[in-house]
Amino acid sequence: MSSTEQPVTPTNASPDFNPVPDFEVAPGMQRHLADARVNVELDTGDMIINLGPQHPATHGTLRLVVRLDGERVIAADPVIGYMHRGYEKLTEFRTYPQVTTLINRIDWLSSFANEVPFVHAAEQLMEIEAPPRAQYIRTALTELSRIATFLLFLGEMGLQVGALTPAFYGFRDREHVLNLIESATGGRFHPNFNRIGGLKDDLPWGWIAETRNVMKIVLDACDVFEDLVLGNEIFQARTRSVGIIPGELGASYGVSGSNLRASGVDWDLRRDGAPYLSYPELDFEVFTHPDGDSYARYWVRLQETRESARMVLQLLDKMPSGPIMAKVARIIKVPAGESWVETENPLGQMGYYVVSKGGTGPFRVKIRSASFSNVSILPWMLRGVYVPDVVTILASLYFILGDIDR
């Protein structure tokens, strides 16, 4: 079924699989209460189990210390830091051009989108602006990296709830997008393509035509995922009303991006934030879903993938000609000052608070990464869910360990 016409609220979601009692309790806690009554009689000892740091559901090195009663989670405590590389410290020992190399590795699935806010912050401090063509190319590549990230999510989520095949489709279709990014920037995962004041290079010959073709593939892939995963009743049973984030609570935890929009908060920095890149000139829709459950998060990301593909097509049509680099001194010195730039990255709000003291490198860079805050809501979300739901929730939150640990 398509959720556009018939949004499912937590109380009427899939009654057969998740019997929801009538009385009002905090969302996500209904089953917990219902089971609690049974468990008074069948009291069993708790079991503490480590999900991670090596566990297939944690995308890397997230560790969840979970206290279980049977299959039900009583409390969960995420332990992070297994991949902490200290980028905030390292940036203080690097010059501005060197920093973009580092921040490529924060969220390695959408590296290009990581570079943009940092470069933008430096440009703000230097009071220069990249030429329009550079802005368009930046926007196109940002959206491409969003598509690449989300295509992987759309497949990966299937894998986490047990379907093997969608994951391969995700990788297969993402490959086309990565090829595009590689042919333009030279790096599949770590483009390092942004320069302060513009871009390293212009696009190679034939790139625009190739991108048009790939966008068709992407749109087809979205249809496949809609039929294969989203439309699958088992998938719906596994994700509906699992891991509900109430919008207001999510916001106060700092949950952002698609996760927050899936909770009905209509907030997209591309549209609502300080104008950046070419987004003000684009015509696009922001998708929200009222449920806030795992299904809603999948749905929102699926729609956003489609929307991003449409945005890339728009950008290609409007692509202006001209230079791609503003006039910048060869040795970059950024005047003293502070700058805060936030962008809507695939995973959520990515922000850099750059403090400069006028040198060739930043004095302090506060990296506000999306996954860090997205994951910080886990202890709240995981209370009272079943072990399989833990996996569903982790998958649907969609975090990158590099983005949590920095």
Partner: protein, 162 residues
């Protein structure tokens, strides 16, 4: 019951269709993909152009380029001119175990001595072998592709660089 057949049956249809379509993978050792010309595979050194000016080594965020050079007296170019001092390269090593493939060294080189090559087959069983010396780096030079044309609308290349 929540089971409506279309979703489940539709999924089966997709996998069946894919099964008949054939694979998209490349059987690696038998066939190889050609990476795009811009692909940052390995750094090639054109030794004749290098003046051991240390710029790349200094710009490297990882400190993975090691250069040593010495000056040598050469006879004057013109009759009666003073003898010149020429920088000769003794050592030019890139430690690919440390390299982050950012390309800053290639960009910063003022004498066109460093190039990117899309070659990627140089994995080693021993981490120390990833330190490529100047001869090894020089071998990559013949794999450096031609500069490819730019997309419509690109500004004419104003910079003389590359």
């Amino acid at each position: 019951m929540a089971f409506k057949l279309p979703g489940l049956i539709g999924g089966l249809g997709i996998t069946f269709k894919t099964m008949l379509q054939g694979a998209v993978t490349v059987q690696y050792p038998h066939e190889k993909e050609q990476p795009p010309a811009r692909s940052r595979g390995v750094i090639a050194l054109h030794e004749d152009n290098c003046t051991s000016c240390m710029l790349c080594s200094r710009a490297c965020p990882d400190w993975c380029i090691y250069i040593e050079g010495h000056k040598e007296e050469r006879p004057a170019r013109r009759e009666g001119g003073r003898p010149r001092a020429v920088n000769l390269l003794d050592r030019f090593d890139i430690d690919y175990a440390l390299c982050m493939y950012c390309g800053i060294c290639v960009e910063v080189c003022p004498f066109d001595a460093l190039f990117w090559s899309p070659e990627y087959e140089y994995s080693e069983p021993n981490i120390a072998s990833l330190l490529h010396n100047k001869d090894r780096l020089g071998e990559w030079f013949h794999t450096v592709p031609e500069v490819e044309p730019l997309e419509v609308g690109a500004a004419p290349v104003a910079k003389a660089k590359k």
